[in-house]
Amino acid sequence: MASFSLGNALRGIFATRTIDEGTWEDLEDALIRADFGPAITEQTIEHLREQVERYRTTDPEDLRRMLREYLEERFAKLDPTLKLTNRPAVVLVVGVNGVGKTTTIGKFAKFLTNYGRSVIVGAADTFRAAAVEQLATWAERAGAGVMRPQQQGQDPASVAYQTVDQAQRSGFEIAIIDTAGRLQTKAGLMDELSKVRRVVEKLAPIAEVLLVLDATTGQNGVAQAQAFIEHAGVTGLVITKLDGSAKGGFVLAVQEQTGIPIKLLGQGEGIGDLTGFSGPAFTAQLVG
């Protein structure tokens, strides 16, 4: 087994005949390996132990069902629908470096143009080398308009402003703004994000601020989310790279601690590899 999979591990656990101490230990290990984190793992195990106690069951199959129900219930607490009713609906995409913001925007633009919406993307990542070109390539593939910065190293807030302005004038229905990746510990860069938000809001209210998180991220995902919520007012999460061996167990911790729902899932490098979030489907993928 080249890579660990929670589903496989659980199948092994639930294939045993009865629930004993070994089962609990294996389950705990499996959850930790899936990046649930020590705290959520403890809560989950505790809850399941109670349930098993209450229903006096010893059948691992019941345990599997309880786990799935428990996770689905936790995911179902928040509403995953995107709110894009404003015209233009402004979407700001933020995240740390290398999580796949630009790629997500490309896919998201395609997702929207498939539904007949007209989309413009704003290349407000003026920091990273060739980020603008990367976004433009994606925009072309998605059939969306693109707003480029007029000069090297232009203030991202001004690019964002021009994007929304252009959307209003040319009647684009949705404006998606790409931002440079930044680590949540860089106070100056986080302030820059607040500024982008402030400036855009002068023209139009922001419909969605999407925080992109990499599925391979560990417990640091929570710290990322908290910082971005504080500075950018995140309204939804996008989990990317779910086609890898990591299934993103940490998102449960993120969602629980921040109250921000997951809205989109990215699962590949193709332009069509973006789907809406559904609790049951995600749980099924996680638990198998």
Partner: protein
């Protein structure tokens, strides 16, 4: 898990309880080990590694070596430290250069790990050492990765070989092969091959990486991994080890607040050393990885050595001597003040330097609130003065101050404060230069960095005055043993104090730690 502590924070907390104990019972050890386990898991260290690590620590903590020790608690700290270093790869390993140039270095890793940026950083670092690297753009997958490498290469001032436009067009294996051949012809002594990011589970791309390795026969294959990665680090590292078999690991994004976890996991699972760490957005934010220092950082013993190295790189010896002279002869002017400040800025972000100080983890809050721009503002004020004013601050009357405030976009109050601080600093430095002990105003307990208007935050004066003394002491410290650290410490204290740096108590605590 309401508060998200880093590994350092958690272990510090654990050891605080332990330090007070004279003897350790089995229950004490178990409790500590449980805390370590929890802390390591929170820091994303892979479960298997955690189990093995805690097992070893527990065994050694209960053994005779601890109970015979004078202070068993400190002995446990020592054990944890040793085991951490052992896992992180013991000693630092350098790049191995080929006997017959060019030396071929191949980069591989997941998408978004930071390979392309790292290629630039590595190239710049090598060029600084007198090598003539060639960057080869073999990431033909991601849109505009080729272009990004060209830009990065331009910034680093090194040659880039990019025959294919990328975006899915071209054969990366041929590009890599041609790149190595070209390097031979043009006598580049190092070739750095940037490859496409790939998932561990993608067999086809993994085979392609293996093929690139086969045709170019690299001397080093560096596996680039994001420091923020979670439990998947193990699976990914194993997949890459099977697919391309790397010789070393580079840890990126170490400047975030996730530190340690992935490093421990990857090093432990693959047995490959971590060779470099990438710690920031600029091309200079790149350093060789030191396992022992990283272990100290995790244990919150501070990363003094890196700090000293950074300071030494930034401070020009010659410059420092000149300043020292000036201080002694009482001709220190605002111009020198400015030059000093600019030198200090060269040393890297003040925040990151402070973060390396022992005990600094406890001041995370203050560090976050320290405003780097304060220095820029001070710079602006001085630059708005005429040369004559800079040399003789006494010239500054009301109307001149108003003009300066306008010119620098500040207020007269701020200009007044700066002049005042400068005078204080100059006075203090004269005392120091004559061998006296400075009486530092406002250096009480940790200054409230939160209140922006308060002096402590803006006392750039004494910070800038220090480097001369600091550079001297640094040199002494680097040469000397840990015992000297106390004097070095006080100079750091002076340097960092304004930014909510370590107070006297913390310095004392640091001495205790180092004198251990």
């Amino acid at each position: 898990m309401a508060t998200f502590g880093t590994l350092s924070d958690r272990l510090t907390e654990t050891f605080r309880n332990l330090r007070n104990k004279g003897r350790l019972s089995a229950a004490d050890v178990d409790g500590t080990v449980r805390e370590i386990r929890r802390a390591l898991l929170d820091a994303d260290v892979a479960l298997d590694v955690v189990k093995e690590f805690t097992g070893k620590v527990r065994e050694r903590a209960l053994s005779d070596e601890v109970n015979r020790a004078l202070n068993p608690a400190q002995q446990v700290v020592q054990i944890v430290n040793e085991e951490l270093i052992a896992i992180l790869g013991g000693r630092q390993r350098r790049l191995e250069f080929a006997k017959q140039p060019p030396t071929v270095i191949m980069l591989a890793g997941l998408q978004g790990a930071g390979k392309t940026t790292l290629a630039g950083k590595l190239a710049k670092w090598l060029a600084k050492d007198g090598h003539t690297p060639l960057l080869v753009a073999a990431d033909l997958q991601r849109p505009n990765a080729v272009q990004q490498l060209q830009v990065v290469g331009g910034q680093a001032g090194v040659a880039v070989y990019a025959p294919e436009p990328g975006n899915g067009v071209g054969d990366p294996i041929r590009v890599a092969q041609d790149g190595v051949r070209l390097a031979k012809d043009r006598q580049h002594d190092v070739v750095i091959i940037d490859t496409a990011g790939r998932l561990g589970v993608d067999a086809e791309l993994m085979r392609q990486a293996g093929d690139i390795r086969r045709v170019t026969n690299p001397d080093e294959v560096l596996f680039v991994i994001d420091a923020m990665i979670g439990q998947d680090a193990v699976a990914t590292a194993r997949a890459f080890q099977e697919g391309v078999d790397f010789t070393g690991v580079v840890l990126t994004k170490l400047d975030g607040d996730a530190r340690g976890g992935a490093a421990l996991s990857v090093a432990s699972v693959t047995g490959r050393p971590i060779m470099f760490a990438s710690t920031g957005e600029t091309l200079d934010a790149f350093e060789p990885f030191h396992p022992d220092r990283m272990a100290s950082r995790i244990l919150d013993l501070g990363d003094i050595l890196t700090l000293i190295e950074q300071a030494q790189r930034a401070f020009d010896e010659e410059e420092a001597r000149k300043v020292a002279e000036k201080m002694a002869t009482d001709t220190f002017t605002l111009e020198d003040f400015l030059a000093q400040m600019q030198q200090l800025k060269k040393a890297g972000s003040i925040k990151s330097m402070l973060g390396m100080l022992p005990g600094a983890k406890g001041m995370r809050e203050q560090l976050e609130n320290f405003d780097e721009r304060e220095i820029t503002r001070t710079e602006a004020i001085i630059q708005s003065m005429t040369p004559a004013e800079r040399r003789t601050p006494k010239l500054l009357n009301g109307s001149r101050r108003l003009r300066i405030a306008r010119g620098s976009g500040t207020t007269v109050t701020e200009v007044n404060q700066l002049v005042q601080r400068f005078e204080q600093a100059a006075k203090m430095m004269r005392t120091v230069a004559r061998g006296g002990v400075p009486n530092i105003p406002g250096m009480g307990p940790i200054p409230g960095a939160r209140q922006k208007k308060q002096q402590p935050q803006k006392k750039s004066g004494s910070r800038s005055g220090n480097p001369a003394k600091r550079a001297q002491e640094n040199a002494a410290l680097a040469a000397g043993a840990g015992a000297k650290a106390s004097s070095g410490g006080s100079s750091f204290g002076l340097g960092g104090g304004q930014a909510g740096g370590p107070s006297e108590e913390e310095l004392a605590a640091m001495q205790k730690l180092l004198g251990r």
